[in-house]
Amino acid sequence: MLIDTLIEERSKGSASIASTTRTKLLLKGIDLKKYTAQSDDDPGVIKSIKQIADEMGINLKV
């Protein structure tokens, strides 16, 4: 899932950075509880996540 990739890329295996990154995403308006691997692709949400990745300097390969 795109969100998981973003968190993995940012945290590089650190559980505390992963947790903080999840909170940062929530504060930016991405509520992780609403999305699972089975969720339909929402172009608006995908665009937001890609934009956040850009802002964080993360290159999401999709």
């Binding site: 950075i17 504060l27 930016k28 308006g29 509520d31 509880k33």
Partner: protein, 367 residues
């Protein structure tokens, strides 16, 4: 490890700074942090504090009340001096809040002084301290950008002006600033921790903002209904009574079971204005207040029991202070910190990962 705290209510800024210098003598501070009531003119108190501590990085802000070990104060200046036993190094600069690009400039500059990039700073080694002009309305965007750039924890508060809501100031090395944040990267000499305590529990009821004006921190609709009506319905009161329940029943973003509180400020027509930004489509839990004294004491005691605390910087929301004042519990709150070198202030907003309300965020230096 050496850290000292001092307070004064001498109304003359230079005499006040001189009293603080005398009280804080005996250590050679690398950093002096101070919080001053808005009765002190901004230019005078900042210049006086730098003159008193010319060899230290001197930073601070105006307040809506001050905190020092054992006491909650008004119309005073409190200060904390850190020597190299507590803080190995400090790099501080301003972030002008008129352009979000300033965040990148300041963080790159400060990290560069440590031969690092903001992202490569070790979160176990460094911590960020931030003080905002509390009337800037720029906390959310600034904290988000800082969070984009670095993994270090950033904690702080928004300056106050004793509920005047006319002008708040941040101070760095003798100068006073508005529309600015002061950002410092600290390298504590020992381990450090963060306390975030907000004395609320979730009622299990949710409001989803469905129409929001982010720029003005205003929610127009919750759950597809006028915001004031939906909020009043959720807490079981009439629309006309809703605002009198704001302090007791704010709302919160739930992250890992922990609320990030968003406090309603006032009703504007059918809308509700908040003290911080609310995002469209992100569920908010309705919160119910619990006991500030016992919750705060528990949070401090838990850390102190695991590793003795050397010092605390406490950013305590003005709404918590007003609640404590209403209940006659300010002395009890101050006493939680009696045995611990502590300074803090009553803020117009607290910072930890983002901008939050009705919370105390504390930077805890461990022995």
């Amino acid at each position: 490890m050496s850290v000292k705290v001092a307070k004064t209510n001498n109304p003359d800024p230079y005499a006040a700074a001189d009293e603080l210098r005398t009280s804080l003598s005996g250590i050679k501070p690398v950093m002096v942090l101070f919080f001053a009531s808005s009765i002190y003119g901004p230019d005078g108190i900042s210049a006086a504090m730098k003159q008193a501590f010319p060899d230290s990085t001197v930073l601070g802000c105006s307040t809506a009340g001050e905190i020092i070990s054992g006491h909650m104060l008004k119309n005073s200046v409190v200060a904390m001096a850190f020597d190299t036993g507590t803080i190995k190094g400090v790099h501080a600069d301003t972030i002008p809040l008129d352009s979000i690009r300033s965040v990148d400039t300041t963080l790159n500059h400060l990290a560069g002084a440590l031969d690092a990039s903001p992202l490569s700073l070790d979160p176990e080694r460094y911590v960020g301290l931030i003080l905002f002009d509390g009337l800037s309305g720029a906390e959310e965007s600034t904290m988000e950008r800082i969070g984009d750039l670095t993994n270090i924890q950033v904690i702080g508060g928004s300056a106050g002006d004793d509920l005047g809501f006319s002008a708040t100031y941040v101070y760095l090395n003798g100068k006073a600033f508005t529309k600015t944040a002061i950002f410092a990267i600290l390298e504590p000499s020992s381990r450090f921790d963060i306390i975030k305590t907000q004395s609320f529990c979730s009622l299990g009821k949710k409001l989803t903002p469905t129409k929001v004006d982010s720029a003005t921190r205003k929610v127009l609709e919750f759950n597809g209904k006028p915001a004031a009506e939906a909020y009043a319905e959720a807490i079981g009161v009439s629309c006309t009574d809703a605002s009198s329940h704001f302090m007791e029943y704010p709302v919160g973003l739930m992250a890992d079971g922990e609320p990030f509180v968003r406090s309603p400020q006032r009703i504007d027509g059918d809308a509700i204005c908040f003290y911080c930004q609310v995002r469209e489509g992100v569920d908010l839990d309705i919160l119910s207040s619990t006991d500030i004294i016992s919750d705060t004491k528990k949070a401090v005691d838990e850390i102190n029991a695991a590793t003795p605390i050397a010092a605390i910087i406490n950013f305590n929301c003005i709404l918590r202070t007003l609640d404590l004042e209403q209940k006659g519990k300010t002395d009890e709150y101050g006493k939680i910190f009696s045995g611990i070198p502590t300074i803090g202030f009553s803020t117009y907003g607290e910072e930890y990962i983002g901008h939050i309300n009705q919370t105390a965020t504390m930077l805890v230096f461990l022995k």
